[in-house]
């Protein structure tokens, strides 16, 4: 063998994950972010009551949107993997990448929400169904990611994680309703969205759009990295087989 395992393996991982699409998307996202920051931090007005503090919503709401979007994508990809007709490890990697991005933004959502709550109502936490379900989802994400790291072949990992993801989907309504019934009175409901108007609402809307672009960009890259990791494993297998056969010394 002229090429060693490490040589060709290095070649596999040195391939960048960027393509024309992601570059275009990345630029669009950057521009969007710049636009968003401008509106969010400067152009949109302060709130009558909360003054500049309302701006934390511009981070909170889009993050929450992204976190839930990521969760839905993970769930659908998991189902797609399990279905015999569309079984492919790409779905599994998509589920994993989405979950990783999702857990990050779920954390941001909880953090910013907590700060917002402190500002608006004087408390860092409130036990209503939305907040509690979000916290629950966060922990469930962590569990899902832990299960992904359990090892085994790629398909074993994929099947196990997909099942866990779908079980989590099953739990969400159960958790939501049980908390809803438990604490039916929450302070205010409208996360100030009702009170937002004009420029503030517009900024929020930009935020949601830009974060969606950001999500797609992050997931595409992450999914490709995961694909490379899997390819590296398979690649390693060829060499491992060859080495193994040499043990035989026939």
């Amino acid at each position: 063998m002229s090429a060693t395992h490490t040589d060709t393996a290095a070649a596999v991982v040195r391939r960048p994950t960027g393509t024309r699409v992601t570059r275009a998307l990345g630029i669009a996202t950057l521009i969007g972010l710049g636009w968003f920051v401008t509106f969010g931090l400067f152009l949109s007005p302060d709130d009558a009551v909360q003054l500049a503090g309302v701006r934390i919503l511009y981070l909170h709401v889009p993050s929450a949107w992204l976190a839930y979007l990521a969760f839905i994508v993970t769930a659908i990809s998991s189902a797609a993997y399990l279905s015999k007709r569309t079984r492919s490890l790409t779905w599994d990697r998509l589920a994993g990448a989405s979950a990783e991005v999702g857990v990050l933004f779920m954390g941001i959502t909880l953090l910013t929400g907590s700060l917002w709550g402190r500002m608006s109502w004087g408390v860092y936490w409130v036990w209503d169904s939305r907040v509690t379900t979000t916290a629950f989802l966060f922990v469930t994400y962590l569990g899902y990611l832990a299960v992904r790291g359990l090892g085994g072949s790629h398909h074993q990992r994929a099947r196990r994680s997909a099942v866990v993801a779908l079980l989590s989907v099953l739990e969400i309504p159960l958790v939501h309703f049980s908390v809803e019934w438990w604490r039916p009175l929450h302070q205010q409901e409208s996360i100030a969205k009702g009170k937002l108007e004009g420029l503030m609402l517009f900024s929020l809307f930009i935020g949601v759009v830009v974060f969606t672009l950001l999500y797609v960009w992050l997931v595409m890259h992450r999914q490709r990295v995961l694909a490379m990791e899997d390819a590296l494993d398979d690649h390693g297998l060829e060499f491992a087989i060859a080495e193994r056969r040499e043990e035989a010394l026939f």
Binding site: G152, D233, G236, A240, I241, R244, R245, E246, E247, A248
Partner: protein, 216 residues
């Protein structure tokens, strides 16, 4: 068909957590044969047996056991094959009788079949009500084999069945295997006990580096 090989592996690769324990194994076993697997530790003997038991899928190559494809029909293969590994697969808190009855019940064995299985393994009425916890290694092995018989396993896969047994235990086991062989069982045995297992076997193959050498 009766004359079809019980086991037919062609160039099988089996992977355990990224490691190719089997790296292109080819083997064919006919009904009634006792095939002995020899080879150093780590050669892939255990993986080969577990593969044939339907416990792990082949990553590459073709693997057919009892006419069933191991890539897709492992569940069916499992119910017809008996694997005796380093562990015995027994419930240590239950008695001998309860264990054999349980395993027999998984295939709907009748009380007579269970009694016959116990009898063939020389598990006397006294031993039947003893918890497995309290048995010697040799007695546990015989109990595990009785479970295989009760389950009507068509192919026996034995992974170092003599390991951990004293001389008396090994003699007991040999007698039992010889009787089973005489009754027409098909077996693949991995063993370092070349004299004992060798005397029993109809054919010997070498396993090394995840491959098989010898009459295949």
């Amino acid at each position: 068909m009766e004359t079809d090989p019980v086991v037919q592996l062609v160039d099988v690769v089996a992977v355990l957590d990224r490691f190719p324990a089997l790296a292109g194994a080819t083997l064919s076993v006919q009904r009634g044969e006792i095939v002995l697997l020899r080879g150093p530790n780590g050669a892939g003997k255990t993986t080969l047996l577990r593969l044939c038991a339907g416990l792990l899928p082949p990553s590459r190559g073709s693997a057919i056991v009892l006419g069933l494809d191991l890539a897709t029909q492992r569940q069916e293969v499992r119910s017809r094959v008996g694997l005796l590994g380093h562990a015995n697969g027994l419930y240590t808190d239950l008695t001998v009788g309860e264990n054999v009855t349980f395993w027999g019940a998984t295939v709907g064995a009748s009380a007579e079949e269970i009694a016959a299985a116990l009898d063939r393994m020389g598990l006397s009425t006294r031993l039947v009500s003893v918890p497995v916890r309290k048995l010697s290694a040799g007695q546990r092995r015989r109990t595990a084999l009785a479970c295989l018989i009760a389950r009507r396993a068509e192919l026996w896969l034995l992974d170092e069945p003599h390991a951990g047994l004293d001389i008396a235990g090994r003699d007991e086991l040999d007698a039992v295997l010889r009787a089973a062989s005489a009754a027409g069982a098909t077996m693949i045995v991995a063993s370092h006990e070349l004299d004992r297992a060798g005397a029993l076997a109809t054919r010997m193959v070498e396993v090394a580096g995840g491959q098989i050498r010898g009459p295949q």
